[in-house]
Symmetry: C2
């Protein structure tokens, strides 16, 4: 079908081409009323602006990529929504790139940088154990969002936004201890992993120590490496093994809500119940932690605020207002029905 | 840092530049062993191939976009994984574009076509009520995946892959009827919506009719439009209203598993239980339908097969092997613990 031009639209609206252009580009020098009228005519006539300068600007030089490690984690969903909205509001285009658990996200980022001429990168979730040399290969600004970093990294070399995983983890294990639990199993990351799972494990050890509880390594259960990490299935399989081991415990701390749900399922299948036989706590504050039966006691992360701050820092880096920044948000201990007080 | 070139890599490996190029491009004329050795050296040295022809080819002309309608639906997660793998296997690059519920996906697609010079498009989920004129504006091949289409569309105008939503929906309501339920509420799409929700509602009506059950419109509960559609929250709020209405019923058919979980939560909060007081069934076969307590009776969609077939048809269209295709997969009725037989 014949293409409609910007001139056709201007004619139909009874305005000049410049006014149509202003409406399309959200220019301040146009009334909301005129803009709404023009946008309606554009919509009714299926007109798609194809000013080449505009396309060039949007497609070639103004793209932000968000790289997500691990695909099955619903924790990222509300964050992606915020990223998308904020990036588009800045008139940048937005690429969502999922990184396989076995892939190297820096390699993926370097490849994307060349192909899409990125202006900035958000790394979301997952392990992050790259060398400084590796990070230095990135030529555009980047922010690590909800990624736990170990102390060996120089904070001057990167920017980050997250909760304090050690502190929040301490908070929920401290809660279990105060409820009288002393035999607390943990489902966490494998020991060779420096991700958030490791940091949450540090918080667990710290809380036990604070309460004078002896550390029992048979209650420390790493996720299985042949199953999606932090997933319901992983929590389910690990808890089945834990129950079969005959090791005594009264509570399970799973370092993600999805793991906690899998743990509950394994307990139900063994003919036992939560919290009567075992208390179970998670981490993250996913919607499902509220809807599950019983609802899951957890640490709620402020995902929207984290996502918004991530984008704010990224644009501050792009605009050279700052050289790096680190922001830590507090989590919230949400006490629900999956835990009980021991007498 | 100084860039490593393909010549450096060839030298380190003791092979020619052509061999390195073959390894990078997955050329068949190179042994797996040599390829593995070269890729290791490339990885160890952080070499990123930047042959401009290759970049041009990948970034400018060989991109497939997957447009997803609605962000919170975990149903799409396993499908995205397959799309990504299959598209990369074909040496195309992959753009994931989320479309807001209020956005027009065809407009988004047309815009993307111009900006990214797409080779093909997958539309995933959501409503699809565009005119033929609208579809004709798309200049590249596309496939509608897990999108219910009404009969007014000419099947020669598009390609599609999905389950038969009417038939599968009939199957699960028929199951409830055979278990003795005659007062079956449904949580479904608003009546002005022609999406899969509408088709599943058709299957519901058909099953009631088949079993000689009178249709009661007070048991037909549309999702709320101010909450994410097909979400747990929507099922929760709609079920709270249903319970408060005082209308009698023995079972709820929620047209997605997420809605079903929300329905269960509302029942628990009213101090009642599933399935003792109310049977609840869903649709989709999400992982959580197995892990929920009680596990949810549902129709399991073969998401991996649907995703694979979608990509197969898309590439057949791109390669001009076919002009259109429609493939329907059977769903599976999975009977779990959220339903009971009435006496």
């Amino acid at each position: 079908m014949a293409s409609i031009t910007i001139k056709d639209i201007a004619k139909m609206c009874g305005v000049g081409v410049t006014t149509v252009s202003r409406a399309i580009n959200n220019h301040p020098d146009i009334s909301e009323e005129t803009k709404a009228m023009i946008m309606q005519v554009i919509k009714d006539n299926h007109y798609v602006p194809n000013n080449s300068a505009r396309n060039l600007k949007r497609s070639v030089s103004k793209t932000i990529a968000v790289l997500i490690k691990g695909i099955t984690n619903p924790f990222f969903n509300p964050m992606i929504q915020v990223f998308e909205r904020e990036i588009q509001r800045k008139k940048y285009s937005f690429i969502l790139q999922r990184v396989d658990e076995k892939q190297d996200e820096i390699e993926v980022a370097i490849e994307l940088e060349k192909e899409k001429r990125l202006k900035g990168i958000v790394f979301l979730g997952g392990y992050f154990s790259h060398s400084k040399e590796k990070l230095d290969q990135l030529t555009v600004p980047f922010v690590l969002s909800t990624i736990g970093m170990t102390e060996e990294f120089d904070p001057n070399d990167y920017s980050s936004v997250s909760v304090d995983d050690v502190k929040e983890s301490y908070k929920i294990v401290d809660y279990l201890c105060n409820e009288g639990h002393r035999k607390i199993a943990i489902i966490t990351a494998p020991m060779d992993d420096v991700s958030i799972g490791k940091l949450r494990y540090e918080g667990y050890k710290k809380a036990l120590k604070q309460h004078g509880i002896e550390y029992n390594e048979r209650l420390v259960r790493p996720m299985r490496e042949d199953i999606d990490s932090y997933s319901m299935e992983n929590g389910y399989e690990v808890t089945k093994e834990l129950l079969q081991s005959g090791e005594e415990f009264t509570a399970i701390y799973a370092v993600s809500d999805s793991l906690a749900i899998g743990a509950c399922k394994a307990i139900f299948e063994a003919g036992l119940s939560v919290p009567e036989d075992y208390s179970v706590v998670g981490f993250d504050g996913l919607d499902i932690s509220f809807y599950y039966n019983p609802s899951i006691t957890t640490i709620k992360q402020p995902t929207e605020e984290i996502a918004q701050e991530t984008i704010k820092i990224l644009f501050d880096l792009i605009d050279k207002k700052i050289t790096h920044a680190h922001k830590t948000f507090p989590g919230e201990l949400v006490i629900r029905n999956s835990t009980k007080r021991l007498n």
